[in-house]
């Protein structure tokens, strides 16, 4: 990363020569819009991506459940495909990258819809308190990108980095199957 931003000090400090301060600039695209932050001024170099998204951009869909990569509640997508734990990624590592948070999903997103609709007898709902849900939704988005036709066993493996203490795992697995089905139908329609 090169220093990209130079800022003249507002006031000279007595006894010290007035000198321009240069900052390295972090450029990150979040949900389609580019944002720039001067590292050391707007954000700290050790700031996590999760903190940047929540505190600096107000994107509070992602949650900080454990802050150590154990619960998956902070999951976002990087460069359109891969799910990453934003509490384990430094903000500066997102330089020139595209980040998608749950706020960036359309209202009719098939994964969001499937999580909301899940209520079939025998499997419960896909959410109760809902605090882990954005993390699960983004993890499922990333997973279905990689594996559009998953089996139940593959889903259980893929979502085992996320914790739902309400224990809606059965409903979440069903919602994931339903989302895959919705996406299959959409693909078939589009190719027809």
């Amino acid at each position: 990363m090169k220093p990209l931003l130079q800022v003249a000090p507002k006031r000279g400090v007595p006894g010290i020569a007035k000198k321009a301060i240069s900052y390295r600039l972090l450029r990150v695209n979040v949900n389609g819009a580019w944002h720039e932050f001067a590292i050391g001024r707007d954000i700290a170099p050790n700031m996590t991506l999760a903190f940047l998204l929540r505190e600096k951009l107000g994107l509070v869909g992602l949650k900080l459940g454990c802050d150590q990569g154990a619960c998956g509640a902070c999951t976002v997508l990087m460069d359109g495909k891969a799910a990453v734990l934003s509490c384990m990624v430094l903000a500066v590592q997102a330089h020139e990258r595209h980040i998608l948070t749950i706020e960036g999903l359309p209202e009719d997103d098939p994964v969001v819809e499937s999580f909301a609709e899940q209520s079939a007898p025998g499997y419960g709902t896909a959410l109760q308190c809902g605090i882990c849900t954005p993390g699960f939704v983004m993890t499922v988005k990333g997973f279905l990108n990689e594996n559009p036709d998953p089996t139940l066993a593959e889903i259980k493996e893929a979502l085992s980095g996320n914790i739902c203490r309400c224990g809606c795992y059965a409903g979440i697995a069903q919602a994931t199957l339903r989302a895959a089905e919705k996406m299959r139908i959409k693909r078939t329609r589009e190719s027809a």
Binding site: E55, G58, V60, G61, L62, K63, L64, G65, C66, D67, Q68, A70, C71, T101, I102, L105, D109, V112, E113, F115, A116, E117, S119, A120, P121, G122, Y123, G124, T125, A126, L127, Q128, C129, G130, I131, C132, T133, V137, P150, T151, L152, K156, E157, L159, S160, G161, N162, I163, C164, R165, C166, G167, C168, Y169, A170, I172, Q174, L177, R178, E181
Partner: protein
């Protein structure tokens, strides 16, 4: 090959209804699935409170220690530190001693009437630390969390390090370090008004009955301290300006929190405003509305004149836990399986503070004796809560019942084996409530359904450990555990009046006041369904009803606390009454508009009509828009119906596979059966049945707080080493909803969510025994426990 989405057979309702009991999404499902619901940490972003300060409290590095001296100078000099409150400051030192056991959440209590007023063993901020992590000494308010943390490191403390004790049996020995010498001279909690004597039940002649019993079995089991593990860490923001204090938090007891703050800080109630909204999971955490950190955060807000935010880190979220309990039990019976005597003795590890220890150890068993052991002629129960220097034990989902059940269903399984009986037959022969007959109708159906669904006759080895060995040295077995529910309406008498309100707008839309802090239990959906059902004469749909998720003590009616998972029906019972009043108001208004007597009118499906001439009719909407256009409004407060009706039963059946080479246990299948009285919201109820097993299986197999015995330091206060089950760890779980029992109210329902965790551990333990033929009785059952039991380690 991809898998198709699945569905099972729906339950069969006793009385088909339009809304109540339906399979449908939660009312907040769309908002939650799209990430739009905001929790306390989201609502209290710095950008929304530009002058926000962050508070961090000092925590003891020692299991047992006293602060001899403290120097905050260097910390105070750190740029960005705005204030440091210490235990020596007069506003702190003058605070009344307190505890975290004001109430079990059922009723609102004052300082004088708090449930465990005999154990006021906590200072909001003192100099005495009773466990590693105890909040003591000082709280820093700074511009950022990082600065506040840095400041804590700069506070110099000279500690008087004291000897400590972790094990309750050691703590009871003479000469053991005393945790709260001013309360107990032997670490055993003294007699209190709520819990009663050490021997708190002594019915019949137990000694004689055991002497005469033809078969006697006994055994010991230990339930450990799991933690609630809510993803939504404790958090609050307090503003205190111009005499008025406002607390926003994820406490689920708004009214009680207000009372707590008012009484601790001596502020008139109308100057305290408490606001709570959606909470990201509760599970009994801080089931008392009295968190001491509310108080020191408030004092910092007053001193700085700025809003102050306090939030636990994940490490700090290990703040309370289930009471660990060692249960010894003995049961005597006749050869035909008639139980003649039962004896239970429990020793609970309170940890550093008493909190609700005696609720778990005495209150819950007393209820169980009343509703399940009514026909056992001779019963003795005794309990001892013991202070140690461990994480305090407070409330957790299934409080007291989970610990008791681990012992209770152990005895049933063991006695059945000694008598060569099926444990199902033994259970049906003995257990019911005093208003029921034997066999108990609810228990019969619960166990019949469980046996059918798990495949009891095929899956259970006739002789424990004698089944086939599957590839890789794996043995399979089946077991079950059952328990009386404890959330019937009559058991909620202590709540007092339950508030609810209905406003019908002129366009026939409805504002529903069913104030409660929604923690995920789904009671909000139950209440909207209940409201729609009760107002079905208006011809409305669910979309016509608006339920407010914010509880604000300044504008809301009193909130009904999410304990006993009873909010799922308690408010609906009141709404049924409110709806009748709305109907009266509507007919009175229609009488004017239709120039008829209200008595001659009725309303069905959105139309008011003259009973004798149904063709003379008006739409409800037209009635409401006639004359004085104002909303119909009813606000009522009614106590629960306390007619005693006994309780229904719950059970969990499990099939397990144990690898006898590695000791690993895998749960293959679980069936969770709840007799609900009336199913209020089927998808939500099944989500609770399935979901409870995340805690149940975790407590059984993987979740455990581990201490360094040399230092008393807890080693795994994080989610990597404290292992909460994920999707990959969970078996297929079949939820079974039944409507056999019925309470006295309109719906006669019974809360189910809390109890869904209770039977899991013993069901799994009985299944393990059935698989390998060796009993393990303590949880969690880690592989080394199995190997040890098998003589392999």
């Amino acid at each position: 090959m991809s898998t198709k989405p699945q569905a099972r057979e729906p339950y069969t309702p006793r009385t088909p209804r339009k809304f109540i009991g339906s399979y449908r999404p939660r009312i907040d499902a769309k908002e939650k699935a799209s990430g739009k619901v905001q929790y306390i940490d989201d609502i209290t972003l710095k950008s929304r409170f530009p002058d926000l300060l962050y508070a961090k409290v000092m925590r003891s590095p020692h299991a047992h220690a006293r602060i001899k001296s403290m120097d905050i100078g260097p910390a105070r000099a750190l740029p960005g530190v705005i204030d440091i409150l210490t235990y020596k400051d007069p506003e702190v030192a003058s605070l009344k001693p307190t505890n975290a056991g004001w109430t079990d959440g059922v009723d609102t209590v004052s300082y004088d009437s708090m449930m465990w007023r005999h154990f006021r063993d906590r200072r909001v901020l003192g100099d005495y630390a009773c466990w590693v992590t105890d909040e003591v000494g000082a709280v820093v308010a700074a511009e950022t969390e990082a600065i506040a943390e840095e400041a804590l490191k700069l506070i110099k403390v000279e500690w008087e390090v004291l000897p400590f004790v972790l094990d309750p049996l050691e703590a009871m020995q003479p000469g053991a370090p005393l945790v709260h010498p001013e309360i107990s001279s032997n670490n055993v909690l003294p007699k209190d008004l709520v819990g009663g004597d050490d021997v708190f039940i002594d019915k019949g002649d137990v000694d004689k009955a055991f002497a005469e019993a033809e078969v006697v079995v006994d055994g010991t089991s230990t339930h450990h301290n799991a933690t609630q593990g809510s993803l939504d860490n404790w958090c609050c923001v307090v503003e205190w300006r111009g005499g008025k204090l406002t607390l926003q938090s994820n406490s689920y007891e708004a009214d009680q929190s207000r009372m707590h703050i008012s009484q601790m800080l001596d502020i008139p109630i109308h100057n305290v405003r408490v606001i709570s909204s959606y909470v990201g999971g509760q599970f009994g955490r801080g089931d008392t509305g009295d968190q001491p950190f509310f108080i020191f955060t408030a004092l910092l807000a007053k001193r700085t004149g700025r809003p102050v935010k306090f939030r636990h880190t994940r490490r700090e979220s290990f703040h309370d836990s289930r009471q660990p309990a060692i249960y010894y039990a003995k049961v005597g019976a006749k050869r035909d399986g008639t139980i003649t005597a039962m004896y239970f003795k429990s020793i609970g590890n309170s940890g550093a503070y008493a909190d609700h220890t005696m609720f778990a150890l005495k209150f819950a068993p007393v209820e169980i004796a009343e509703v399940a052991l009514a026909r056992i002629p001779n019963i003795r129960m005794e309990s001892y809560g013991v202070y140690t220097n461990k994480l305090p034990a407070c409330m957790m989902r299934g409080v007291g019942n989970s610990q008791f059940n681990l012992s209770f269903s152990h005895m049933v399984d063991r006695l059945a084996e000694a008598l060569d009986m099926d444990p199902i037959d033994l259970a049906l022969k003995n257990f019911t409530h005093e208003w029921g007959t034997l066999p108990d109708k609810s228990l019969s159906e619960v166990l019949r359904q469980g046996a059918n669904r798990i495949g009891w006759t095929e899956k259970r080895n006739k002789q424990a450990g004698n089944g086939p060995t599957y590839p890789g040295a794996k043995k399979r077995g089946a077991g079950f555990s059952f328990h009386p529910a404890w959330h019937a309406e009559w058991q909620e008498a202590r709540r007092g009046a339950i508030h609810a309100g209905i406003t019908v707008n002129p366009d026939c839309t409805v504002l529903l006041e069913a104030p409660t802090v929604e923690t995920g239990s789904g009671s909000n959906t139950c209440n909207v369904l209940g409201c729609a059902e009760a107002l079905s004469f208006l011809g409305i749909t669910l979309d016509d009803i608006q339920w407010s998720h914010v509880v604000d003590t300044e504008t809301s009616m009193k909130d009904c606390v999410q304990t006993d998972s009873a909010v799922s029906f308690l408010q609906s019972e009141v709404l049924a009454h409110a709806a009748r009043e709305i109907k009266n108001q509507l007919l009175a208004k229609a009488a004017t508009a239709m120039k008829a007597s209200a008595d001659d009118l009725d309303v069905i499906d959105g139309h008011v009509f003259v009973k004798a001439h149904p063709e003379l009719r008006m739409t409800v909407r037209n009635v409401l828009f006639s004359g004085d256009i104002r909303p119909l409004m009813v606000k009522i407060a009614l106590p629960p119906n306390v007619t005693k009706t006994g309780v229904p039963y719950i059970a969990t059946f499990a099939e397990v596979e144990v690898d006898i080479d590695t000791g690993k246990t895998e749960v293959l299948k679980m069936v969770v059966i709840n007799d609900c009285g009336t199913v209020m919201f089927a998808s939500g109820a099944e989500a609770q049945q399935i979901g409870g097993q995340c805690i149940g299986v975790g407590e059984s197999l993987t979740e455990e707080i581990i201490y360094d015995r040399m230092t008393g330091v807890p080693l795994n206060f994080n989610w990597i080493d404290y292992k909460i089950p994920t999707m990959a760890d969970m078996p297929d779980i079949e939820p079974v909803l039944l409507e056999v029992w019925k309470g006295a109210g309109e719906y006669g329902a019974c809360g189910i969510g809390e109890g869904t965790v209770t039977c899991a551990p013993r069901a799994i333990l009985n299944a393990i025994y059935n698989a390998i033929g060796v009993r393990v009785n303590d949880i969690p059952v880690k592989p080394e426990v199995i190997l040890k039991a098998l003589g392999k380690a």
